[in-house]
């Protein structure tokens, strides 16, 4: 696989991220109630983030020759929905850190955090409604339909993961995991931005099904790399608690591989540990799981699968966007599969 052009990826992410955030804050009300709601809806967006999702949407539209402004509102909506889901995910996962700071519910309490997440989801509808001024009613409605589809897929994926954890399901197969990732991660992170960028760029005259494969492989590689960073990343750059996925009992590819390769005694200890509430899992438990993952080659296995999926994403890119004329945006999208597995 071609090495990622880090400068190109980072400069495009910065440029489109800045454009998205500048427009995003226009959609956040500054009226009352500020203390319990409107001062908080901008909290996560203000913390930064790579703006990967809106950038992919804008770059895809621009790769078709469409001006940035045509995709900007859809990109803003994607980023707002992403932030809304982060707030709710943090509550569901009992996460303590997000982008290097305490999570919303740690700072403000669960009820207020849920309400802020709800409001962010609603605020994400306004830019989609505003699309009609620039894209016309037909295309705008199509984007709304697509957004509803994406939100449904994401919720289904999240339900799978939460259900597995609640019921302590330990016979999750790799295919089950990938289907969960397809829904929970890929639809919002990569499939939806690709589909929206293509839809806007081609003004509706495009087969969106082809974006699903590219988005799936890119998003799955992205998720596995994210899970790896949770084990061994740079805590400052990563912005979340290291080892948090194990503490939360998340069914990652490494954990699934470990459950498959573990001895009976190890599997029993894992089952017992995963059946406990989050607070009952000690630092020693987490360290033991990571040590066993190392011993059984689970971390290396997951890294190799991520590389393979990135290669598959690159393959799908050629079929999906290969016909487009060369451009900075096309090169950015082409560089993403390698970038997602190299980031730290």
């Amino acid at each position: 696989m071609v090495a990622p052009d880090g400068n190109l990826v980072s400069s495009v992410l910065r440029e489109y991220g800045d454009a998205t955030r500048a427009s995003l804050f226009d959609y956040l009300p500054t009226t009352e109630p500020r203390r319990y709601l409107y001062d908080l809806v901008g909290d996560y967006p203000r913390r930064g983030g790579r703006a990967f999702r809106p950038s992919l949407c804008i770059a895809t539209a621009r790769a078709f020759g469409t001006p940035l402004e045509m995709a900007l509102r859809t990109a803003v909506s994607i980023e707002l929905i992403h932030n809304a889901m982060l707030i709710h995910d943090d509550i569901e996962d009992e996460s303590e850190q997000r982008r290097g700071k305490p999570t919303m519910h740690v700072n403000e309490g669960v009820p207020i955090a849920i309400n802020v997440g709800d409001m962010l989801s609603l605020l994400a509808m306004r830019p989609l409604l505003d699309n009609r001024h620039m894209l016309g009613p037909d295309l705008s409605l199509r984007i709304l339909e697509e957004t509803e589809r994406m939100a449904r897929e994401s919720a289904e994926g999240q339900a799978l993961e939460l259900g597995w954890r609640r019921d302590n399901v330990i016979d999750v197969a790799e295919a089950d995991y990938l289907l969960m990732v397809l829904k929970k991660t890929c639809w919002l992170a990569t499939i939806h931005p690709s589909r929206m960028g293509s839809l806007i760029g081609a003004r509706g005259a495009v087969d969106l099904d082809r974006c699903i494969r590219f988005g799936f492989f890119l998003g799955a590689a992205f998720q596995i790399q994210d899970d790896l960073l949770n084990l061994e990343g740079d805590s400052t750059a990563y912005g979340k608690e290291l080892g948090g996925d194990i503490r939360e009992g998340k069914r990652t590819l490494m954990l699934i591989h470990l459950l498959e390769k573990a001895t009976d005694a190890e599997r029993n200890r894992l089952r017992s540990m995963l059946s406990q509430p989050r607070d009952a899992r000690s630092d020693g438990d987490v360290a033991w799981v990571i040590e066993r993952m190392d011993a059984h080659g689970s971390i290396d296995y997951a890294r190799q699968v991520a590389h393979g999926l990135a290669g598959a994403a690159r393959h799908e890119f050629t079929g999906l966007y290969g016909h487009l004329p060369d451009s900075r945006d096309k090169r950015f999208i082409e560089a993403l599969p390698a970038w997602v597995i190299e980031r730290n």
């Binding site: 078709f64 020759g65 469409t66 001006p67 045509m70 303590e96 309490g109 669960v110 620039m134 894209l135 016309g136 009613p137 037909d138 295309l139 409605l141 199509r142 339909e145 697509e146 589809r149 790799e174 295919a175 990938l178 289907l179 397809l182 969106l208 099904d209 699903i212 494969r213 799936f216 799955a220 790896l228 084990l231 061994e232 740079d234 805590s235 400052t236 608690e241 290291l242 080892g243 591989h257 390769k261 607070d279 630092d283 987490v286 360290a287 990571i290 040590e291 190392d294 011993a295 059984h296 080659g297 971390i299 290396d300 296995y301 190799q304 699968v305 393979g308 999926l309 598959a312 730290n344």
Partner: protein, 251 residues
């Protein structure tokens, strides 16, 4: 989360970057969680990795990608099956797009409730059209919202001969700087001409066409493009020549 629950205190990390070498990675079982580092563990782990390589590591790329393709193929197959059940709907747009109802079609916008809603919607449409008569300058309302898809276009033509012009501009393109390609026909022996000037403002596009006196009769077409060269509409000019040309220009 309970507010009274004690906050978990993490042990400071021994390093701040990822370990990419699997042998070195495996040699540090603590991974920042406070267990002692044993330099000999790397060798032992490498031996273990070699021992399990056939089962766990070798072919991981191929197995992972194969499983992923199986998952996405099955997902797409199920999506296609679900979508095929809605093919009879007029706005069915593809296998996985899940467009169940056409919102732009008044007959299907309400799905199975359409037959019950239709009389009420027709009454509302009649009421809206009637009310627009009381508003000076108001355009009769279309409750389905299809009338505002394209900006208004006005055309000015300078020609010695009868000339018919039609112009279509995409919705939203009126906010852009537009230009027109040279007007050409399918005939190779007829030279194109480029006398079209386009000015646009929000909601209105003005097209001005000057036809050269010696331009042969025929149907000429040109793409309307934005500053980035993206197609935003089409201009069609049809020139008819009379047996005896008129003496003056028509506007």
């Amino acid at each position: 989360m309970s507010a009274s629950r004690p906050r978990i205190r993490r042990v400071p990390l021994e390093r701040t970057g990822p370990i990419r070498n699997p042998v070195v990675s495996a040699a540090r079982p603590a991974l920042g969680f406070g267990l002692p580092f044993d330099p000999r563990e790397g060798l032992r782990t490498a031996e273990r990795l070699a021992a399990v390589s056939n089962a766990a590591v070798q072919g991981a790329v191929e197995c992972g990608v194969k499983t992923a393709y199986t998952v996405i193929d099955e997902y797409m197959r199920r999506g296609r099956e679900a979508a095929s059940r809605h093919r009879e709907h007029p706005n069915w747009r593809g296998d996985m797009n899940d467009n169940r109802y056409s919102y732009s079609n008044p007959n299907t916008a309400w799905g199975p409730m359409g037959p019950f809603i239709a009389p009420w919607m027709q009454a509302m449409q009649a009421w809206m059209c009637a009310m627009s008569a009381f508003v000076p300058g108001a355009v009769p309302q279309n409750p389905w919202g299809q009338c505002a898809t394209s900006p208004a276009v006005s055309v000015k033509v300078f020609s010695r001969y009868p000339t018919e012009i039609s112009a279509y501009v995409d919705p939203g393109a009126d906010a852009m700087h537009l230009t027109a390609d040279a007007l050409s026909t399918d005939r190779a022996d007829v030279r194109p001409f480029g006398g079209a000037v386009i000015t646009s403002e929000c909601g209105h596009v003005r097209v001005s066409v000057t036809v050269p006196d010696d331009q042969p009769a025929g149907r000429y077409r040109a793409a309307i493009k934005d500053a980035a060269g993206c197609r935003r509409g089409e201009l069609t000019v049809e020139i008819s020549k009379l047996e005896t040309p008129p003496s003056g220009r028509t506007v």
